[in-house]
Amino acid sequence: MRPSPGWSSECTVSISSGKTPAWLCAGPARRERGRRTAGAAIAGLCCALLGPLAAAQPIVIGSKTFTESYVLAEIMAQLLEAEGHEVERRFGFGGTRVVFEALRAGEVDIYPEYSGTITQAILTSGAEFGTEEFTAELESFGLEPLATLGFNNTYALAVTGDTAERLGLTTVSDLADHPELRFGVSHEFHDRTDGWPGVSTEYGLPQTTVGIEHGLAYRAMLEGALDVTDAYSTDGDLARFDFVVLEDDRNFFPSYFALPLVRRALAPEVKEILNRLADSLSDAAMRELNAEVSIERRTFGDVAGQFLRERSFVAAGQDERRANSLAANLLDNTIVHLKLTGIAVAAACVLGVGLALAVHRSRPLSRAVLYVTGLLQTIPSIALLALMIPLVGIGQVPAIIALFLYSLLPIVRNTITALLTIDPLLKRVAAGMGMTQSEQLRHVHLPLALPHLLAGLRIAAVVSIGTATLAAFIGAGGLGEPIVTGLALNDTALILQGAIPAAGLALATELVFELLERRLVPGHMMTSRLPA
């Protein structure tokens, strides 16, 4: 599987100019640079705050959010560990664009990529895989492809066994005779030139298609809500669900040879170790490993370890990677989650309340601030996270910035509204009896605005806890990590490992704010007290 949101074929990379790729197709280069400068400033600030995060220098291995990518990343990680290297796993990046940008930015050293994806979705010169031009283009990004692992995980179109039998479908060409079929494909496939736009033209397919998260597409097929989706030739789930892969009878789909894509600066001995994996996996072997995970429900670590021992890449007796216990994972993820939302909401509180206090006396300024913070709210969260990447890279910093931006609206709006709706008589009395501006603010205006201010904070905190689960797509970790992995694996139990604690956190936050309100606000002014 190679699905993921966030990559658009229109967002192509120009390397002929030798400049930074314009990941965001939205604006002219000038704006891009401005954003980068601003982004760098914010990043610098945040890095200063989060400085102690990066102490040692382990080799960072990334993956995308599907089984095969996790398994391959884990194989590389364990092999390097067996050779005595320290490895940091940052798996589950939300799409080619995200993980590639992370690699380019040096936040990740290695991740498993496919030849077809590189030629079709990353490079724009049309260089063939394996040519000097291909290598040179990657070199211009500071990257290097290592030896291919052997198998070719190409795109395919799949239907359920029932559909295939009922309509007599065996090839992609057959689909053209059935315009009533409902197509739902992964977002990346939907937009890539080597995906839906290309295949529908090549085969003259009359159907339209919708973009859908890959794990959900399989579910939808089983429920009968979809007829055709994109699949991958080494997908372990194809057998599990009795799906039929339609033959690419016009040989449209390019080859997708898996390989470790690495930073050129990586130590030569590390590259040498990874090159030992060359040609070690056939299509069938890879499909089997994928099935071990998605059908047998074994962990990536288990499957990868077994593969390495069976193929004698590591000694049989060598200790297996310690799998983190459920409780430890849960605790780690929860702590990261709390950190992401805590820092973001606290910063939004300071800036939001400050901003509200600064502008609330001027109606036009208040309106402008509300419009801008409202506008931020309309950016879909995954898009905002993606927009952050060219500015501040990946990981916790962009996640915190995005959550901070989302938290501003409820806090600013509630504070401004609360300040504006204070009874003018009370304001007049406070001024008339001889209180200074700051005394009025501290003893009258803020206490009167406090119930609504707290309500805004509460909304911001609860919404942030929900939104922060998406931060896993850009490598920020947190409770979104098991959710993202679970989605990739179609594993409900894993999804719940993230979703239940996140819901618990949201409830706990509600409770904390209720207690806070009880302490700070007189009973008759509490906003959370519902009418009987």
Binding site: L426, R428, G432, M435, L448
Partner: protein, 245 residues
């Protein structure tokens, strides 16, 4: 000799509407002066120009022998008590905190503040048990007494009352009037009272200023105005009082 409050050629407009034009008025030191007139006559505007909540467009208002300051009013305003219609009590503060707020800001000791709050509440006949209540838990009449206590906390030289006794039943109002009279005997101040109620004016004040549409129809001692109304409009206002007498 200068009076404690003087309006010197004061004009005040709201937008295009002139409320006052070239107004001259002096308010006597140590007396209770009632500004009376129908709503819209400008009496509340006049009051708010005394503590600088409203600023005249032309002319000037002098208080304590000096022009009302344009900025940094707080020290000036703390010499002037201020109580308003609907009491203006702060809903988030208990009764003692409402009354004692300015004392807290003046950094009075807790003991001194407590004593002063007790003293005022006793003078206004407020049950000490009310100290820990919130304003909304009190009756309208009780809230008005608290408003007076708060305005008197710092023993101001001037007390501005903007219809503070409106909206309660006549019996309660009479009681509050009595208590207020008692308070003024114990802690005398120059009082400017805005009211549309002629009974109240006659009962509490020694001086009357009768206003209509931003003009002073008549100003003088209560007896003088009642006995010798300057014109028909004043006479009509006064008649209402006579009718009851």
């Amino acid at each position: 000799m200068h009076e404690i409050i003087e309006f010197l050629d004061v004009s005040k407009r709201f937008g295009d509407v002139a409320v006052f034009e070239h107004l001259d008025l002096a308010i006597g030191t140590g007396r209770v002066t009632a500004l009376v007139g129908a709503s819209g006559s400008g009496k509340s505007t006049l009051l708010q120009m005394i503590n600088g909540v409203l600023v005249p467009d032309d002319g000037r208002v002098e208080v304590f022998g000096d022009p009302v300051p344009d900025a940094h009013h707080s020290a000036f305003r703390r010499r002037i008590g201020y109580a308003v219609q609907g009491t203006g009590l702060f809903p988030h503060l208990r009764i003692d905190a409402n009354i004692g707020l300015l004392g807290k800001l003046e950094r009075w000791s807790a003991l001194e503040l407590d004593g002063r709050i007790d003293e005022l509440m006793t003078l206004m006949d407020l049950d000490p048990e009310l100290r820990n209540r919130y304003p909304h838990e009190l009756s309208g009449g009780q809230q008005q007494r608290v408003g007076i206590c708060r305005a008197m906390l710092l023993r101001p030289e001037i007390l501005l009352l903007d219809e503070p006794f409106s909206g309660v039943d006549p019996l309660t109002r009479d009681e509050i009037h009595e208590r207020f009279g008692e308070l003024m005997r114990v802690e005398p101040a120059t009082v400017v009272l805005v009211t549309h109620d002629m009974h109240e004016a006659v009962r509490l004040a020694s001086e009357l200023v009768v206003l209509e549409a931003g003009r002073v129809l008549q100003a003088g001692g209560v007896n003088e105005v009642v006995e010798q109304p300057a014109n028909a409009a004043v006479a009509r206002l006064v008649e209402r009082v006579h009718g009851v007498h």
